[in-house]
Symmetry: C2
Subunit: 331 residues, 2 copies
């Protein structure tokens, strides 16, 4: 295993420290519970918390800041943060308007975030609402989920809910905005290589020289099929066909497009994939209103990418365009 | 070779198209000469042009926009753009105040950018000044250079010169600001894996399971030594020791720190490296005024990273802090 690392046991905490050192104007670290929070919390807006296993950087702590999250809770690599960690993030960021938890739909995350919300309500009388992101069209149930997995589309939910909260909406309004975005976002990915979980030290799976895992999850979980590699144009077509069918996108629709790298795939290739995606969308008269491209929701050092589509209406467009200022997304 | 690609011959043009599609509010593509320009050029400021071989994305086209470059000229992968390409970028972005070329110190780039500047002066009477970035402390001369190579520090030169131009300085003032930054920036990198140049299809070099190339160039050129991998703390120490000695950094100095990934190294590891670097700098009482962290100057799909240090004074701090709005850097 070749990684920039000191030791496996301390790596998540060291990563958190290095991240906060890079963005001292925006972030603070609550070390004991590995919570990365906004430097300047606002008690008069709904608090937004997300998080999950580490290994998806910049998700989720990279999206802490004005117009997006108030805190991200960092679990071990590919392992949910504990109930106590999440509970403390609720306590440390509580506001007069309540808290919304944005949870990727994995069984471990659901259990621990749900438990924390219950604890905060019972012990501290804090109003906590929850939404579950399940954007991955690849598989119905999976190794770690009942229902679809929550993957890169989660970043767009942070953006939409974050804008709603920043605009002063109340807890149920922010939750409604998040649910509306969740209902309209879909993602699918593929892997050219496996990731290597540091604690294991060897690749999670092995692919042949000319093979890819189509529909892979963001922890290297199996997807739909192990297939021969195809061209960028064919890849984009395979991916968008599934997404568009599932989302019931039609000619004239406007979308946000997220072309997301899994960690080891260079921007060069993501740009080529974006070009391929645009040709297909133009053919179908689906208009790309805004594009995000780069490493947003990674799978440690996996080579591969995902495409997410968020179908927009005027309300979602307004929230998408609202300014944000976080380490990993600013506009 | 596993890449998201249609075919090797068209990949740079396809990449340019996919990039401009992702950022239609900021960028336009001049297809014939593979020049990516600002959408809204300003004839009343000094024009700034950079570029070089492709494969370093987001450099350089990702830094085209307000507060940084006016155009980036895209050569083939790891090959300088031609004199005619650079000449046309000068013509297409000419301003009333003249043009500054920011050139990474590689023999091919120097020859072609120099030739283009001469052509623009002789044929079109356009004032063109040039600066050469040579920030790599690893080697004195190299495979492709007389003198030190120009690497990730170039991004900081784009930022400093871009701010000077945006503030309305004249051509010689902008050049002076760039030269002052060049005199104060140093970089060193290491590779854990080779990159794979698409036209070749196989890795440029091979490293053992426990080896790294210390001092590697951004095209996979040899560095100082092939060594055993060390911890993040030791890596940061080896890198910063060379930089600080060369820059004559002292207790009390303020710096900008650029922790740059080479393409296949995830942000997770860059954050750990940043934490290690900060511990060393704190010990030496060198203050990090601003940090950039992520993939800024890549080597296609190489795993590895570089650290750049820009020693600051009040003038450089002011220029560094000036707002910028480009696809790859915004603040």
């Amino acid at each position: 295993m070749k990684k920039i690392i000191n030791n496996v046991d301390d790596m998540v905490l060291e990563m958190c420290k290095g991240m906060v050192k890079a963005h001292p104007d925006k972030l603070v670290l609550s070390k004991k519970y590995k919570i990365i929070k906004r430097k300047n919390l606002n008690q008069n807006k709904v608090s937004l918390i997300s998080g999950g296993g580490s290994g998806h950087e910049p998700a989720h702590a990279g999206f802490v800041g004005t117009g997006m999250l108030d805190a991200a809770v960092c679990g071990d690599v590919f392992a949910s943060p504990s109930t106590i960690q999440v509970y403390n993030s609720i306590i440390e960021t509580q506001s007069k308007k309540g808290t919304l938890l944005i949870i990727k739909n994995y069984s471990g995350d659901c259990m621990n975030f749900d438990g924390a919300a219950e604890m905060a309500l019972e012990d501290d009388d804090i109003k906590v609402e929850k939404v579950y992101v399940n954007d991955d069209v690849a598989v119905k149930d999976s190794l770690y989920t009942v229902g679809r997995r929550g993957v890169a589309g989660t970043v767009l939910i942070h953006k939409i809910a974050g804008a709603a909260a920043e605009q002063g909406m109340n807890l149920l309004e922010v939750k409604d905005a998040a649910l509306e975005a969740i209902a309209n976002v879909r993602t699918i990915g593929f892997a050219f290589t496996s990731c290597t979980v540091p604690a294991k030290g060897t690749p999670t799976f092995v692919l042949g020289e000319d093979e890819m895992e189509f529909g892979v999850g963001i922890h290297g979980e199996p997807g739909i099929a192990r297939e021969k590699i195809v061209s960028s144009d064919e890849l984009a077509d395979k991916m968008l066909t599934r997404i568009i069918e599932d989302l019931k996108c039609e000619s004239g629709d406007e979308i946000a497009l997220l072309v997301n790298g899994f960690g080891a795939t260079p921007l060069q290739e993501l740009y080529i994939l974006n070009g391929s995606a645009n040709k297909i969308l133009e053919d179908k008269n689906i208009k790309v209103y805004r594009t995000l491209i780069g490493n947003y929701m990674t799978a440690i050092d996996m080579a591969g990418a995902s495409i997410s589509v968020l179908k927009l209406n005027d309300k979602l467009k307004g929230l998408l365009d609202f300014p944000t200022d976080t380490p990993a997304l600013k506009f």
